[in-house]
Amino acid sequence: MDLNIEMYEQIDRYLLGELSDEEKLKFEQLMVDNPDLTQAVEDQETLLRAMDEHEESVETEQKMDKFHKDLDKSTYQIELTRRGKVISRRRRIFSTISIAASVSIITFISSWFIITKKQIKKIVATNELKDRIEELSGEVEKALVYTKEVVDSISAANETRPQIEKYSFGTCIPINDNGLFVTSLHLVKNGKRIALENQSLYPNKKLSATLIYQDETHDLGLIQVKDSGFALPAQLPYTFKSGQLDLGREIFTLGYPKQDIVYGDGSISSFTGFKSDTTTFQLSIPVNPGNSGGPIFSERGDVLGIITARHSSQMGSAYAVKTKHVEDLIDKYYTAVEEEVNLSTKNRVSRLSKTDRIKTLGEFVFRVKVYRPLED
């Protein structure tokens, strides 16, 4: 069905979740009255779905080719040398040779499985040990905190004694499910200790983290949760998207200007940041120091930038570092440690209602508490 360009744009808006609840209802009524329109919408949905699947399949294909190359080299050697003789002979004498081949293949495979089971038992035992050590160090930390609190209260009572520590607060978000987070470098640099809090996912718990990689130019830092067995309980619901910095685009932020999570919204007021800095962009959201390191989300729930600690809250403007620089930093980091880059590829919230979307995203926004040495 050949509809005009405006109609197709409306269909796109509908399918990409860009219509308000009211507009959506109107459009769906239009579809009910117009079977041609319904068909066009279904076709467009098929096309979008197929494009999505195509992109994923291209990615999987590249991985498969890599795996296959590795296969030819490693465990496969034994098969290769026998292969030629076995197959060609099989063409002449079918049954007996093929049975022999099958048996040898099955024996090969089953011996591989036996080795793996032993290794699995070892891994399980090591993990149990790790858990026990975790438990014990938790107890030790509790004891230390208690001691420190006693010392604090004594020194507080004694006015001539100075306070032992001071803190900075900010926000951060995970970039993978293994405990790697991105935040404002300014916030965490030179901190004595970094602790992460999240009342939704980990009520009344503090996660210890360290700064492991930094980008001074863009005020970005990567912090890693110390517990090596740490894993988020679910997949990340957002993706990082560069290139959506249109003037006036509606955005929102979630962060910790106070102890509980706060939602703020506004729009992109400029492509560039403080004094035309091209690495940041300007927002019309009122932000407070506690928002530093926090995410700027598009309406769909894609991360467009990270709020920077520098220059913000000057005359009611705030600035965020563009996602591109976060992606570059992550690439550099993974290259440096020679590991696979693993950024979330699927936005899981765009189809939700606004409040559900905010709620889901909010679960993954963490509060950062940095303990600073006195001399700072």
């Binding site: 360009i5 744009e9 076709d43 494009m51 999505d52 699947e53 099958s102 290139g243 910095l245």
Partner: protein
């Protein structure tokens, strides 16, 4: 940096969902030898083995990510079942009818709806791959940037060097019309 341990099928399923390359590589490499043996000993050759296995591996990954497979059976059983079914279908296409199949694993039976779903998915992806190849550039890049990467019209105008935003919208519309025509000329909507 924590190295994830994969101790069970459930860990691997989780790893696939989270796009962890190592989990996917473990599944790929540990299952290929069996499938290869199955195909070769059932009238296939090395090329058939690789093609069917990769086709089925893609279906497995997609089914895991779409929640169609959650680990109700062992991964190797499920993957083998997909390969077996795809190979039988291929043999049927080549008019090679088999009296008895040499099996190397337990396999699960797919309900007709599951088989239809697999066929439609496979059909969609293949048709889209071919359609995008036929469309060429800049249509391919333009459509993917807009629909998959959610790049705004303003940014697209800059990226592709069009005169203005309306120009871009027009180009996008034309490319989409072409894609629609090419795609639906081969894809049968069921």
């Amino acid at each position: 940096m924590a190295r994830r341990q994969y101790n069970s099928d459930q860990d691997l399923v989780d790893g696939v969902i989270r796009n962890h390359e190592i989990a996917m590589s473990i599944i790929y490499k540990s299952n290929f030898p069996t499938i290869r043996a199955f195909i070769i000993n059932n009238s296939g050759n090395e090329v058939d083995a690789k093609d069917i296995f990769q086709e089925s591996f893609m279906i497995l990954v997609r089914n895991i990510r779409e929640g169609r497979f959650k680990g109700e059976s062992k991964i190797k059983t499920y993957l083998y079942s997909i390969c077996r079914r795809q190979w039988l279908k291929e043999l049927g296409k080549r008019k090679k009818f088999v009296f008895a199949l040499h099996d190397y694993e337990e396999f699960v039976d797919f309900a007709k709806v599951e088989e239809d779903d697999i066929d439609r998915y496979h059909d969609r992806v293949t048709t889209m791959n071919n359609s995008l190849a036929e469309l060429g550039e800049p249509c391919g890049e333009l459509l993917k940037s807009f629909y998959l990467h959610n790049t705004g019209i303003g940014e697209l105008t800059r990226m592709f060097g069009y005169k203005n935003d309306d120009s871009t919208k027009n180009q996008k519309y034309k490319c989409m019309q072409r894609l629609r025509k090419v795609f639906f000329s081969s894809y049968q909507v069921k």
